[in-house]
């Protein structure tokens, strides 16, 4: 069985796209429709990689990323951000939350702005897991 990759995105079309790319490349995909559901699945399944959207109901990718990177048992799981929200906004938001008293979190290693070509996604997944 291939490595497990969790896709956290509220848009079913984007989830379908990512899951198809993952399956075609031999990975085992898991899906969550928002940050809250995503965190629960991460804790239960400890995936090898997370593909994370930012703007979602219940809990955004910004808060979920922060929770992951400040949790000792989860912080080493690599994260690819795949979102319509600009990287600059993501970084500014994390900075603001740090200034309000939160812990400093590292920048995401890979940040892709939607839409993305399937071969680009496959390439960065491989890179993130290597």
């Amino acid at each position: 069985m291939g490595k497990t990759v969790l896709v956290v995105d509220d848009d079913p079309d984007v989830r379908l796209f990512s899951v198809t790319v993952l399956e075609e490349h031999g990975y085992t995909p898991l899906e969550a429709a928002n940050g809250e559901e995503g965190l629960k699945m991460i804790k239960e399944n400890k995936p090898d990689l997370i593909i994370l959207d930012v703007l979602m109901p219940r809990q955004s990718g910004i808060r979920l990323y922060r929770e992951l990177k400040t949790d000792k048992s989860l912080k080493n799981i690599p994260v690819i951000i795949l979102s319509g929200i600009a990287k600059k906004t993501f970084l500014r938001s994390q900075k603001a939350l740090t200034e309000f008293g939160g812990k400093e979190v590292p920048e995401p290693k890979i940040y892709l702005e939607k839409p993305v070509e399937p071969e680009v996604l496959a390439e960065v997944i491989e890179k993130a897991l290597s």
Partner: protein, 307 residues
């Protein structure tokens, strides 16, 4: 600011009414980002999460002869998504949490569903633009929402409709008290906004028939008693650090509350919403409904506790 993000319990105690999370309902034509900006003063109190919702009503992409217009639905969804991304970026950068719903369905049902799912503390919605006859025969989304919502609803009025400045709607609210459980609940709601509200005007509108007695002394006694009851509520606000003033008006609440708002230079009208059954509301009307739909002031309606 720190308490907004860290060290807070996830859900508040039932007896404290706070605005931590608001649901902003928009079709874009009636409410824009200027309205969102004007509500950001609530971050000085407890607001830390804004959820946007755009409901695409089915008649926007009616069935054509060739079937379901999926392409039109996608186009409308993406148009809303692009707008929300822009708005969200602004809020994220201020450290706020943001969520978005773009759904196809019936406005009121989808708003109630999202408010329940997200456990929001306030629903913000623009005024509907139906005519008088349409209201009479079909009722309005607003009336339906007020009837069904368990959380307070702020009816926002677009800048172009009003001559008053609504840069900070919560700055000087006018609270109309009729001693109903919902209006007393509104007192509790505003008390929790000490960092946002600078002054509350409390008004009770007494009708002519409430002025018992035939002598001036007796009428003045009624006024004095009402005023004393209002002063007791003023004291509650003052202990929370909010200035409060009591006013007694005589006449029809449907007219006098708006006059009082003007006299007090209020930025918003706050009312307890009616617990009347839907058919009574529809045919006889109610003061909260009238202000929600007709006043030039943003109108905050606090529902009674739902059983």
């Amino acid at each position: 600011m720190l308490r907004r993000f860290f060290g807070q319990p996830k859900r508040r105690m039932a007896d404290i009414m706070k605005i931590e999370k608001l649901l902003f309902v928009t079709k874009f034509e009636e409410l824009g980002f200027d309205a969102v900006r004007s509500l950001l003063s609530l971050t000085k109190a407890d607001l830390n999460h804004v959820v946007f919702i755009n409901v695409i009503e089915r008649d926007r992409f009616a069935m054509s002869r060739v079937g379901y217009r999926k392409d039109e639905e996608i186009r409308l969804r993406e148009a809303a998504n692009i707008r929300f991304i822009d708005w969200s970026e602004h809020l994220f950068e201020q450290g706020l949490e943001v969520g978005v719903y773009i759904v196809v369905g019936t406005l009121v049902s989808e708003v109630i569903k999202a408010a329940h799912k997200e456990e929001t503390d306030l629903i913000v919605i623009g005024r509907s633009h139906k005519g008088v006859l349409e209201h009479l025969y079909s009722g309005s989304d607003v009336t339906e929402l007020l009837r069904r919502a368990a959380t307070p609803v702020l009816l926002y009025k677009h800048l172009s409709e009003t001559a008053i400045s609504i840069e900070k709607p919560f700055d000087r609210p006018l609270l109309a008290i009729d001693w109903s459980p919902a209006s007393l609940r509104a007192v509790e709601y505003l008390k929790g906004l000490g960092d946002v509200v600078s002054e509350v005007s409390l008004v009770h509108v007494a009708s002519d028939k409430d002025l018992k007695g035939t002598s001036a002394m007796e009428i003045q006694k009624t006024r004095k008693e009402t005023r004393q009851k209002l002063e007791e509520i003023c004291t509650l606000f003052e202990t929370e650090g909010i200035d409060a003033r009591a006013h007694v008006y005589i006449g029809d609440p449907d007219d006098e509350i708006e006059k009082a708002a003007r006299d007090c230079q209020a930025t918003m009208i706050v009312l307890g919403s009616s617990a009347k059954p839907a058919w009574v509301e529809k045919w006889l009307g109610s003061t909260p409904r009238k202000y929600a739909e007709e006043s030039i002031y943003p109108t905050l309606l606090i529902p009674p506790v739902k059983k």
